[in-house]
Symmetry: C2
Subunit: 487 residues, 2 copies
């Protein structure tokens, strides 16, 4: 499978002691050096795309088209963080010159962000590339200058090993220190990783239950460390009456059906709760549009079982109608499910009915009036996204003000699946969507693994190059309170 | 004491429900509006400085000179955050324009940071103004657009109430929404505050034990929230042999004596561990310089008791010499203590000897060679500061690389007490110095209470003004990947 003789998998103790030894070397590397490492990893993954996709499809059943796109997304992320390094704003250089005349006299202060040290990354089942071994957490931690130890996901062990071998070889060939990257496997190793004293932060994408358990481990350490987790999301969608006028209802129904069944519904941005006006008949249109969607094979037997029991539990709830769904014929397959109920029913039992069902299911919630709509939104937990479908000239200011507190991304039109890679992107939201303010997606992912350090009255020969007065790295800087761009 | 009829103290439930109601109004306020609120609070505190200082001195015994300076520092902090609001970079506006030709097509994304919601602030005993009711946590949370509920410190209840009344009146007169600020008192109320569902983050300055307990409460909530704590610090100082040449030894000894006894040693930046070459006689010089320092009255009987028992415990340790110290004659007073030992002794029992003693004490640790110095530094916990005293032309690169991982501020020359207020300042460090990457000091204090939100394909009439294409607020922005300053 690979020409490398590197053994990609090791024990936590081995990996952590190599990472701790590598950390000062990574911290001393220049941003442009690390950008070259990230580019090298991206290029190596792109070169091996056919082999990677074939193996990923064997293990994940997500299909070669989707997986080929996901490799491109993953290498795009690596290159975005290389661009972040090239830009230099991520170092947040701030210089206050000395002022001996001030009362009290002000010392010279030169501040920047520095890497925290070795980072643990837990990869996800549903994105075997983009949120896995070489995904956003790994890319942003390496960009920050932190060694990375990935805990492989058990749903794609062979792909994890191959990806790790490619990453290790590319980093080695590009001159990165030994210990910059390692892979560990197994639940016990994951637990040991979060608790290892050398680890300074954890990145995680996965289930609410698994994430909460690791968050608790990270918080209960003798020296607690930050846990950056993305855990679960229902992604509420609100459709107004005006949005359903004319033939728009059928268009929206087809759009929703395409979004919630995409990738067998195994996206954290799956639109799981859709609020529509009562009497609109929208739920029936969605069922019609989703009818005939082939039941796809889900990632693992466990995920398929959880999907079927979650959908069955909601369907069996008094007041919930099943418009589409049923038992899977093939093992491990996910049949599209469309459920419908009223806002009043949801408000009687929000804990059950507003829970995420991970898979190709959506619950259409019919609201009688604005106050019911607002009451349901107040009961929805934090989410990655919130979507509005309204008529072009409709006043939705009030509605948006109720969606903003719920989610990290607010969409007008469109559907939440599909998360563009770019500087402005954000993928996060209040608990339980994420545990933290910034996540593995978007340029600020880097800052999770950086801490400020300020040098007071320090001779230039001792300072990092980024803080030299002449600005040799051509960084954006704040000088005596004023933000300045390099000439 | 005040002309206001406002009752500054209320229950957590009252305060939290007012804060939750105020939150959307604060979130909708413009940065310049909030800057005016902060200026109004600063002006009101400055106008009442005499009255505030008198009351603070009655409760804290810190003296009117120090306390008058601390009011100036506090209003300086409020005005710094007003300047942060005026600058606008804190909103981190990032705009990626749509690209319909991309594969897949890219939507328009407009991103900024938005306030998280109501914030709890626990004030400190040792800074009754600057890290208390109207201190850096409060100033930065209000700047971010978050309502604040302060838990008063029991060491200065009357000052807390007066300060709160002044803050509430100033905010009210400046037009801030009711519920923007409240004060609660008592340990039970503090516990309830951290656990209240409306609270989105906690700021804390205080002891390691108290901070850990509240951190655990915040982490164990059904929906965990971030706990931004500053807990304790030993602030190691390393003095090289070359730095002690000639009359420099006596100068450094006097400087250290002045720093560790300042404010009866009740500073989180107190230089508690000082590493010097064995045989330098430096410890004796420090004892001589500190001899005769008047025993000041400490903040509370509990702090005085903890200081005396902590100093006695270290002094009684085999291998530790007491060069200065003794029992206090007046109740609640802190007598300067100078202890000395060897690096070898410290390495036998680092947990006891490297523990912070809060008060006017310093432990001089004599190292025989570089390897002993490095071994002690490896055993020191995270700290707010690390200081180097070396000769001007000495190569200290290796030493600095060992200090950087320990602390958030590295000083050359000088002493760590005294934390200048400014854009470049940082006051934090690895556990147990702080629990988080950014703290209440410095311009990035604001970002602890902001979360990213991105608007996808959203009509301008619904967007916050900060995200309008024409840049009406004249903000620094990143447009399609390029950082731009307002013309």
């Amino acid at each position: 499978m690979t020409t490398s003789t590197t053994n990609a998998t090791m024990t936590v103790d081995e990996a952590a002691s190599l990472a701790a030894a590598a950390a000062p070397h990574l911290a001393a590397s220049s941003p442009s050096t690390r950008a070259a490492w990230l580019e090298a990893v991206a290029d190596a993954l792109d070169r091996r795309v056919t082999e990677l996709v074939a193996l990923a499809d064997e293990e994940s059943h997500l299909g070669t088209t989707r997986l080929t796109g996901e490799v491109a997304r993953t290498t795009g992320q690596l290159r975005l963080f290389a661009a972040v390094l090239g830009d230099g704003a991520f170092l947040e250089v701030v210089i206050d010159h000395a002022d001996a005349a001030a009362t009290p006299p002000k010392p010279e202060l030169r501040r920047m962000l520095r890497p925290t040290g070795p980072v643990a990354v837990f990869s996800a089942s549903n994105f075997p590339f983009a949120f896995s071994v070489a995904g956003g957490d790994t890319a942003s931690a390496l960009a920050a200058g932190c060694p990375v130890i990935v805990k492989a996901h058990s749903a794609h062990p062979r792909l994890s090993r191959l990806t790790a071998e490619i990453v290790i070889e590319a980093l080695h060939d590009a001159g990165a220190p030994e210990g910059s990257f390692a892979l560990v496997e197994g639940r016990d190793q994951g637990t040991a990783l979060v608790q290892h004293p050398a680890i300074t932060a954890v990145g995680f994408t996965g289930s609410l239950a698994g994430g909460r358990a690791l968050f608790d481990l990270a918080s209960r350490r003798p020296a607690p460390i930050p846990f950056y987790g993305e855990l679960g999301s229902t992604n509420p969608v609100v459709i107004t009456a005006a949005a359903l006028q004319g033939d728009r209802a059928a268009v929206l129904a087809r759009g929703l059906a395409g979004s919630f069944t995409l990738g067998v519904g195994q996206f954290c941005t799956n639109p799981g709760l859709v609020l529509v006006p009562a009497g609109s008949g929208f739920a029936e249109l969605v069922a019609e549009a989703a009818n005939g969607t082939a039941a796809g094979r889900m990632l693992t037997p466990g995920i398929a079982d959880a999907y079927q029991s979650g959908a069955a539990r909601a369907a069996a709830h008094p007041g919930v109608r099943t418009l589409l769904g049923g038992d899977a014929e093939a093992p491990q397959s996910g049949v599209a499910t469309v459920l419908a109920t009223t806002a009043a029913t949801v408000l009687e039992d929000p804990e059950v009915l507003l829970e995420e069902i991970f898979g190709p299911a959506t619950l259409i919630i019919e609201y009688a009036d604005e106050s019911e709509l607002h009451a349901v939104l107040a009961a929805v937990g934090g989410a990655l996204t919130a979507t509005v479908h309204a008529a072009p000239d409709e006043d939705v200011t009030e509605l948006v003000s109720r969606l903003e507190p719920l989610a990290g991304r607010v969409l007008f039109g469109g559907w939440p699946t599909g998360v563009a890679v770019g500087w402005a992107q954000h993928h996060g939201g209040p608990w339980p969507a994420t545990t933290s303010l910034h996540t593995s997606v978007g340029a600020t992912a880097v800052r999770r693994f950086q801490r400020p350090i300020v040098y007071q009255d320090t001779p230039e020969r001792v300072l990092p190059e980024a803080l030299h007065e002449s600005n040799p790295l051509r960084l954006p800087r704040r000088i005596d309170g004023v933000l300045e761009l390099p000439a």
